[in-house]
């Protein structure tokens, strides 16, 4: 699988922080709410929330709202799956663009 360099950078940057690595490992085992996670670390809820946001942008975790809680779960697959799908969708359009071009090249 080809991975975009900017994604790799984002993933590495997200994992450069010890707290974030810890969060990823935790939620890969079992999902947890942001407030539950916040209790594990010597930092504010807002700081933990920021870390979660960085992980989310890197496609390493997903966050879902469940009632008043925000549930974080480990998810490395979603982004990769979407990337593959977009590549397949691109092929459909490449076919269309070729046909458009053929029509434009026709002598009128």
């Amino acid at each position: 699988m080809v991975v975009d360099q900017s994604d790799v950078d984002r993933i590495f940057a997200a994992l450069a922080d010890a707290t974030r690595r810890d969060i990823v490992i935790r939620v890969l085992r079992t999902e947890a709410s942001v407030s539950t996670l916040a209790k594990q670390y010597e930092m504010s809820f807002a700081a933990v929330q920021k870390h979660v946001a960085v992980l989310e942008r890197a496609g390493l975790v997903t966050k879902q709202r469940r009632g008043r809680e925000q549930i974080v779960s480990g998810d490395i697959d979603t982004i990769h799956r979407v990337r593959e799908l977009l590549r397949e969708y691109e092929e459909i359009w490449r076919g269309r663009l070729d046909r458009m071009n053929a029509l434009l090249e026709e002598p009128s």
Partner: protein
């Protein structure tokens, strides 16, 4: 024609394609505006599209179906949300039931097309946006079928040449 770039953005669930044609913007616009031309490129030769309706106005709808080699058909609809001849068009593309009524179960895509004049002809930028990964998956699964048949069609064309 050259495809200048293809930019998938998995996080935003969008695909942007930039292509250049050696034809004027007006001619490229016609490919969208004229349903008879549209039918010749929206679906591959093995899975052609038939546009039964094509109300090319803002808020207007297009209704089409695609016919497979086995005579199987799938119905689709468009709703035009922005038209600015010959530069911009935007529409929503979705699936429909056999009566042409929009399906709420099936995915819907927003497609935006920008057509710009360049010295060598036209640059067309197409951006498709998807609401969810599942929606994209459904569309690709239908398109994959199309893609395989398309490949078969191209081989036939080569053999016939």
């Amino acid at each position: 024609m050259t495809v200048i770039s293809a930019t998938p953005d998995p996080e935003a669930r969008t695909l942007t394609l930039v292509a250049e044609f050696s034809a004027p913007p007006k001619a490229v616009w016609q490919l969208w505006a004229d349903p008879r031309l549209l039918e010749r490129w929206w679906g591959p030769p093995t899975y052609p599209a038939t546009f039964r309706e094509h109300d090319f106005t803002v808020g207007g709808e297009a209704k089409y179906h695609m016919t497979g080699p086995e005579g199987d058909t799938s119905n689709g609809w468009w709703r035009f949300t922005a038209l600015d001849e010959p530069n911009t068009l935007e529409f929503r593309d979705g699936f429909a039931d056999e009566n042409g009524n929009p399906s709420t179960e099936m995915p819907e895509t927003t497609i935006r097309v920008d057509i710009a004049e360049i010295p060598s002809g036209t640059r067309m930028t197409m951006t498709s946006s998807f609401a969810s990964a599942e929606q994209l998956e459904q569309l690709v699964n239908m398109g994959m079928l199309e893609g395989m048949k398309q490949a078969a069609g191209q081989i036939d064309a080569l053999l016939a040449a």
